[in-house]
Symmetry: D2
Subunit: 285 residues, 4 copies
């Protein structure tokens, strides 16, 4: 009888974080109380030997349909990247003061997990960016793809949108960001804040010698091409801060909409969005 | 017989400009050669007594269906604002080095006017912004609505999008810009460049004392509310640089999509868009 | 016997401020307790009819040797500007949350006034800027001289330092700031923070169309010349936010070191200077 | 007889540059014509086997009193860094379009070398910065000392001036620049332009998450301390782009005035300084 089969919940936990493991143990208890099967992600489990009596899962291979991520933006970005099926629905609990992408606060964990179990949430599908680097598909990015000098020498590149040349950048590199990534690294680099209801790709130059160039915001359904020039310095490409590719040669990058969005269960994403954003930004002091 | 009725063409000319009147005389000759009825806008005609043997029109009252604007961005913005019916199709010829909104260059006037006569152009409808100031509808803005200190004292306001508070601005004021206006005043004030295929409203704070706030880009189909506080300094509201309202009191502004877009005949708007943009921007030296 | 002659203390109070008048009454009591003669500035006295039984002084004509300013930056800037002799020593008490130039806090008023009476303070002489506008000397500026569009049209000017052309500015105008003014309007406009131990003049362009130009910091012992061009829009010149001159014509401004510095009694100017600066800056929210 | 002893001239040449080697051969001929002894720097000589019949020198060990550098900013920075005695006077010829630090243009090489031989130049002594990294003295920097993320993770540090805490930076790192370095990397990173007559150290944060912090300009005769925190990501320290030190641990950096300035022979450093600066900056396109 299908009704008797217990639903599986996966848990991903930020490493080396007292507050993350504390929250995780609370979450495990709640799930068990409601007779849910709890699986902890293999790496997370290995980080905390306090976790016992629960199964494990490998996120790259067999992710459960519902995953609860506990930690900061990095933990969420890694989970979203490694969950390749694109089918899992992710709930995001913030542990620690940073992490704007995670909307569930520590004090409300019980209520929100209960809501998650009972499917009382808004499913938000976040567009991601697909990078093709020299012809090879890379993992999709939820926040940004960064081309960055690896030794401080000048990265030289040309940026195009839909085959129309935008400008040359000679500098530390460039950020190619999603709308949701606009409040992350791109913002520190001088990029604008984009309202999450607008689907965009943002090009933010990094410390360019061309003093007149500015960030540009494009519709997401186009293609960014980046030609890294022959005389460029060494660089690496950083996908969501999770995956790096080093190179020193002339290269071609093509960035466009990823066919699998990130599926995140939100409980109050829109409530006081900007208040929450700026209070999070001002927590850096 | 309708076929015999000659089509009417209106002409609007930047005042005090040798190059604008030169181009205008060429345009009048071309139109006459093709047996079109030429009407010069009343004010433009009064500025140049060299214009003879043509009729005139008052742009606020009876604009022809096709209008040719010759001048800079200001000439175009004024014509679009005064043409209240929203039915006229406007062709834009640049006279002078500035004026990125005008895509027809002096050297190609003959060919493009011929194309315009023969309806060989792309009709681009640019969204505009409608301001309601303390309950009163104002003229729609193609580029931007600016709230600006009138005496150097601090303008204090709160900005909202769809009733969600974005942030307070205490400074010289704020720019509320369309996508097409993103390359005008908003850009000088630190705003991003928005690709013309994306329909947005941009909020760009003007020299705010809040050092952490940044420009924000919103979808155009929402509502910006600005509450100017009781303790704000004196200010004026500037619509496309064409129309000013002075005030010193607490006020409410509501900005949303205007129901009449600007209709502009484009001949190569997309061809090398960014190359043309940056070469225009670098012409300021 | 000179020893019996009572020393005179002038008091300047921010208008319409409950906290400023409260502090002022406390200060008057302290001074009377120590048998000092208290004079309240004529305008300040007229603003508050609660002030009785004290004499008054006109700051432009006969300023006492010691003046206590109570209010915000504006109150201090006005007092310094109007005290033309350059002989008075000014103590500055902050009333209200803003006002970085004023270093005495409300809670310590008794102790600091007592120190002031007993000459236990550091006398800091702040360089000021002297503007000559079309050949006419203006009042000296402690913070800044701002050239600013009066109607939103483009101000066009050329800036020189020691007769060497720096750059053209086409925009809202320019800020010419002292070191101490670097944390005021210039900072909001994108200028750098200058350590108070460095004597400088800072040129900060205001929203220029020339996207490549940047603030420039010069030694204070040179001369800034500004030529406002014939085709400039209307503008005004604003000295420390206290004094405005409107103009629409071609003009010449010469800015150099004022021969009379501002003399301010400081009690802990250097103690945690940057901590205090940023905590003041972050109080705008 | 001392009068008969021929004066020695050292030559340093940018590698892999047709225009640099062309100029170098011209310079060698001129020097020989005037009976000067020409020595080419060992590394430069090894790069170009076309150079014959001249001696060589090792710049770190026995630099001649007069050195002619031919190339870009990097060539000059390297020569100044490696010339440890601080006694050599350096003439700087620009080969290629970049290189603002080099004031002699290709077309005037003959005249300026002749002037250099005859001591007709202005000797400008540029202050440099001395870094002590975890207690160890490093080579002095003419332009800047940069602390920079080596893997894209957040560098976390605290900056002090004369033991007064300025602010925390969590970001890509920080630039600590001289006045002359203010027009190099610091400028791309948002720092101000400092007039060369002002002796300063500039702190320019690199893409900080603290959105409210700004570049700060200090007098050069003080000490910058940087504490890199225990939880910082990996980073390297880059001195004038010539020398790198990698680290991942908690570190202390102390930066102060180097006891040996760079001695450069200038021929028209002040002539149209800002015109030349901005025309060089606008050559990046």
């Amino acid at each position: 009888m299908p009704g008797l089969q217990s639903e599986k919940y996966g848990i991903v936990i930020k490493p080396n974080s007292n507050s993350a493991i504390d929250i995780a143990l609370r979450v495990i208890n709640i799930l068990k109380k409601y007779n849910k099967e709890v699986l902890v992600e293999k790496e997370s489990k290995e980080n905390y030997n306090i976790i016992k009596d629960v199964g494990e899962f490998v996120i790259d291979h067999d992710p459960p349909e519902k995953i609860i991520v506990i930690g900061g933006d990095g933990t969420l970005l890694r989970a979203v990247m490694k969950e390749k099926t694109g089918n899992s629905i992710i709930m995001a609990i913030r542990a620690g003061k940073r992490g704007f992408l995670l909307d569930v606060e520590e004090y409300e964990v019980e209520n929100r997990v209960y809501d998650f179990i009972n499917n009382r949430y808004t499913l938000v599908e976040y567009p991601r960016l697909q990078l093709i680097f020299n012809g090879v598909n890379k993992d999709c990015a939820l926040n940004d793809i960064v081309i960055f000098t690896s030794d401080g020498s000048l990265v030289r590149l040309e940026a195009y949108y839909n085959k129309d040349r935008v400008y040359n950048i000679d500098g530390d590199g460039v950020v190619i960001s999603t709308t949701i990534g606009s409040t992350a690294y791109s913002l520190s680099a001088g990029g604008p804040i984009i309202d999450p209801r607008l689907n965009t790709i943002i090009l933010t130059p990094l410390n360019p010698v061309q003093l007149h160039i500015r960030p540009v915001v494009f519709p997401i359904n186009g293609v960014i091409d980046i030609n890294i020039k022959e005389d460029s310095g060494e660089y690496y490409i950083n996908i969501d801060g999770q995956e790096k590719v080093y190179s020193r040669s002339k290269s071609f990058l093509e960035v466009s909409l990823c066919d699998k969005p990130a599926k995140i269960a939100r409980f109050r994403w829109w409530e006081n969005y900007y208040e929450r954003l700026f209070s999070r930004l001002l927590s850096y002091w």
